[in-house]
Symmetry: C2
Subunit: 267 residues, 2 copies
């Protein structure tokens, strides 16, 4: 999917919500456990219920890998089920030496046909560039993450600024706003204005709204740019809004609430 | 596997070689392609041929994920086939917020029963600690990697030293030499003495010998400690020593050569 197509979808639907499919088989409603593939069945119903209120789905690969080959099966089925109109993200945090990153790019962009993958920056240019070489595919590099561990390295001094700032500005030379986004956690709202100044044109994937406590209002005010530039992810707050038989209806309600709030910020 | 068991295996077999199963279906001998699972068949023959000359196998997850569910199947079969005596490493470079790293730990330590996993440090303490909580399992954190991209962040100034030094010393507070190792690339031989001074007791997983050009002699001289403290990995140099029907015999010869050289350094 191109940047222009993504921005158009956001404008048309008046939402920049990404729904995170962090599907944990121990947390899904009990009545689904008799399905042939409970994880895929849960995802299918969540997608049907929320697709009108979001423009993107993010699959957190860890939850699928925890189930071994069955989980990988459920991931394949899920990404194939997501409508073409929606931007699909493999939240995989991959990154390795060049010839290995090439294999990860093949896994997520060819074998599974995701639009985007999250990538860890630690190993530098040759670990990231193989992902950037795919036309109309996206690399979403970790910038400043939402977790407490961001203090340990990301927010430490590195050269003239902080490490995450060095990552943002260095990687901006490897890709363009047409193929590179950054992960910026919603819990880092104090830093959003500075981050937008450093990278005015890039999209951000923003996790941490909902269960992790970030403010949608604040990040939208500080980081939206003229082409929106934001995909805000909610995972647990949407998919586990109810653990009963009404889980899909409740997921629809919560994602609709996010979308309505976003429509206000888009005006 | 405990540290004591690993050191004992190294002493008994007089080798600290790890064979890297970076098995690329486009590079394996043509006569294997008619097997039910060519990747597993290749690995099985490589393991049979090399197990006397190494103490560890490292599975590079990227090459398996590139094949989708079939690749995940081949990975499961391979890790189950490796003898109990050998230290098994998932070279997966994972790392995410705490609740997600917990799922990755489950995937590689429970579902797949590896002894160890490689982990990326960028996201800090809560992204690493879930791996450290498993008894007799190992976290192998990226320190200074073998690729050219190490220059971009790892070797840049961060506080009083370089970023990778900060990673080594910070993470040494999260784990112990009983459950934490570091990845240090063999191409970084100039830094090995300083790294050993910073972390005198930890094991290092050292990739980059062979195809990447690192010197086994130099790293052994600089970084071996009184409990050896080294697992040196060779992947392509062993498994693709021949691309013909003699691939397993040639892999045995090359791994035996490494083991003989290592036996000399162990005296």
């Amino acid at each position: 999917m191109t940047r222009q197509q993504l921005v158009q979808e956001i404008r048309n639907k008046k939402t920049y919500l990404c729904v995170g499919l962090d599907t944990d088989i121990t947390k899904i409603p009990k009545h689904l456990l008799s399905a042939a593939d409970p994880v895929f069945e849960f995802n299918r119903q969540i997608i049907d219920a929320t697709k009108d209120f979001c423009v993107s789905y993010k699959i957190n690969t860890a939850f699928y890998e925890a189930l071994g080959r069955k989980g990988w099966d459920a991931m394949e089925q899920t990404v194939n089920y997501i409508p073409e109109s929606h931007f699909t993200i493999a939240d995989a945090k991959r990154g390795d030496i060049g010839n290995t990153s090439t294999q990860y790019a093949k896994a997520f962009f060819e074998t599974l046909n995701f639009d985007a993958i999250t990538v860890a920056p630690y190993m530098g240019a040759d670990s990231v560039k193989p992902f950037l070489e795919y036309k109309d595919k996206w690399t979403i590099l970790l910038g400043l993450t939402s977790n407490s561990g961001a203090q340990d390295f990301e927010l430490q001094p590195a050269g003239d600024g902080l490490l995450y700032e060095k990552v943002l500005t260095t990687a901006a030379q490897w890709g363009t706003p047409e193929n590179l986004m950054y992960v910026v956690g919603a819990t880092q709202a104090d830093s959003f204005t500075a981050i937008r100044n450093l990278t005015p044109d890039h999209f951000y994937l923003v996790p941490g709204v909902g269960a992790q406590g970030g403010s949608l209002k604040e990040i939208s005010a500080k980081a939206m740019n003229k082409e929106v530039g934001l995909l805000v992810n909610a995972s647990r707050a949407v998919i586990y809004a109810s653990t009963g038989e009404d889980f899909a209806e409740r997921a629809a309600e919560v994602s609709k609430d996010y979308a309505l709030e976003m429509a206000g910020y888009l005006q």
